[in-house]
Symmetry: C2
Subunit: 333 residues, 2 copies
């Protein structure tokens, strides 16, 4: 294994000059740096992560914890989240990995924590009353939750401000004259927050349950006209399903947005524009949100465990009106 000593010798400089040439943490003359880089190239030198972490006093690594990777239907959003974290963390000079945990098994989490390998943890895909949050909290690892869950105490998280999101969506629906709208989600029950905001707008809600798949959305489109004659609009929490719905709409005799006006609150901007220009969205830049989460994580780690830096933040989507949201009661041919 070649070390900085080897390349120092070859370049005819000191070992620290090698380090600084590579890290850029202090000024190095162009000439010297080039000699160092040439030596690095020539010897195929690679830095040693463990040594750097040890000497630097910190593992420059953040760990994403996400179970169910292969069990739940994948969403473009999940990919964007991982991608965002990777780049946000990298931007701050750290690295990130996914720590695979078997479903519902705490032992994998404990192994990680016991290892002291990770400077911090980003918890993803949290479920109701997620036990992992308790474990992380107990072990005093710096952690941020991507999403929210009620575990009985406060913790740092990054998430969308859904209250604002729903307020935007429902007030738009209200303004357009809709009075009965479907809530497309994975559950039979409608989120209380949605109920509250709909009530404030005097809008009647109907639950539309679906799997978050293209076919799930298609299936809904097929029976939509018969099953829900009164529904003139849909607020969708399912990114993939609503694409399937819109794609199938025409062949099912549904005119979007004339017959059904749709606002997607959980879609990537990219998805909305590329596959379903008929959908208005309260846009969600999952990548940027996750990137900011990654940056925050690194800052929290560098700030040290003791410093109680408050890094909670909410992410608020912007309303993207493509003027495709139909007005109710007009032009009904």
């Amino acid at each position: 294994m070649t070390t900085r000593a080897d390349i120092a010798k070859l370049a005819g400089v000191s070992e620290s000059t090698v380090s600084y040439s590579l890290s850029g943490k202090r000024p190095i003359s162009e000439k010297t740096r080039n000699r160092v880089l040439a030596a690095v190239e020539q010897l195929g030198y690679k830095s040693n992560y463990a040594a750097a972490a040890l000497a630097g006093g910190l593992p420059r690594m953040v760990t994403m914890m996400t179970s169910n990777l292969f069990l739940a239907p994948p969403s473009r959003i999940d990919g964007a989240l991982v991608d965002g974290i990777v780049h946000g963390v990298r931007e701050r000079g750290f690295h990130s990995v996914i720590w695979p945990i078997a479903n519902g098994d705490d032992s994998d989490v404990k192994v990680l924590l016991q290892l002291n390998f990770s400077g911090g943890v980003i918890l993803m895909g949290v479920t109701d009353n997620d036990q992992r949050v308790h474990l992380l909290n107990r072990e005093k690892v710096p952690f941020i939750v991507l999403g929210r869950t009620d575990v009985g105490f406060k913790y740092n998280f990054v998430d969308r401000d859904f209250e604002s999101v729903y307020k935007i969506a429902f007030s738009k629906f209200k303004e357009l004259g809709h009075t009965q709208i479907g809530v497309l989600s994975g559950n039979d029950a409608i989120d209380p927050l949605i109920k509250k905001i709909a009530a404030a707008n005097k809008i009647k809600l109907v639950s539309l349950k679906s799997k978050n798949t293209i076919d799930g959305g298609s299936a809904l489109a097929k029976t939509f006209k018969q099953s829900y004659p009164g529904i003139t609009a849909i607020v969708s929490l399912l990114d993939i399903a609503i694409v399937g719905f819109v794609n199938s709409a025409k062949s099912c005799g549904l005119d979007v947005p004339r017959d059904v006006s749709i606002i997607g609150v959980n879609m990537l901007e990219e998805q909305a524009t590329s596959t379903s220009p008929q959908i208005s969205t309260v846009a969600f830049d999952a990548y940027e949100m996750a990137k900011s989460c990654g940056r925050n994580m690194v800052e929290a780690i560098e700030a040290g465990k003791n410093s109680k830096k408050k890094i909670s933040e909410l992410w608020i989507g912007d309303f993207m009106d493509r003027e495709t949201t139909s007005r109710v009661g007009e032009d009904s041919k």
Copy 2:
């Protein structure tokens, strides 16, 4: 941060005794060990991964590289593979993480290799002529490919012995009297290996293309009778789709296995028994295969890069006959 020095002081022993108590690499008296463990417990000591890796001379870490995590439809098999690797690697005292790589982007791969963070890499989800294999080979990182791809040179891999698998499946079909069978896969073209073995058995093949989803399989079932009247059997390479097919069969007027005899060659034993007892399988214990891959990886790392230990191996599935594979031309009510 508490270190071994702290716990040595508290336990009244030397620092090396602490290390050995924890690693078990040399005999320690029961009494001493208990004092050490008590101190560890009391101070909440966690070992420092970076220091251990540095002193030990090796990063005790294996990296799984798998792109498309969130783009491709997930399969139970992928989960079983990850799980198997984690446990195979852990069994040998190493750890494993997933290194997220953006699709088709080499730079993430290069970052990892440059980091010298990983003792070895397990490449998953390889595509045709996968560039990552070239990169790994060039960087001289110990690596094993889970699956195979043609990149123009030899490398170590762990994969099923599909030639044996197909031989088993087709000779069984032949024995049962089938002469025309469908090949359920994601492609229009049929794998040349399958063609060769079918030809040897004088069996005519028809390509059945499907997405590997429950709904993909269902769709196929719906049109199967009309579209493929001559097909009496299916060899399936798609684990999820075939489950969908079998689930929908009855409601589509298909009697499995009387009308269509099925052998799944890419299913987990678990899937076959739990969801579709009518399917015979050339069983695939993805977990065990991956576990063995993980163990091999660690051994390769410990053997050192120079030692050209030959670790290639093939995994051969066992034929699981549930006596549900129908005989052609009999009992056709």
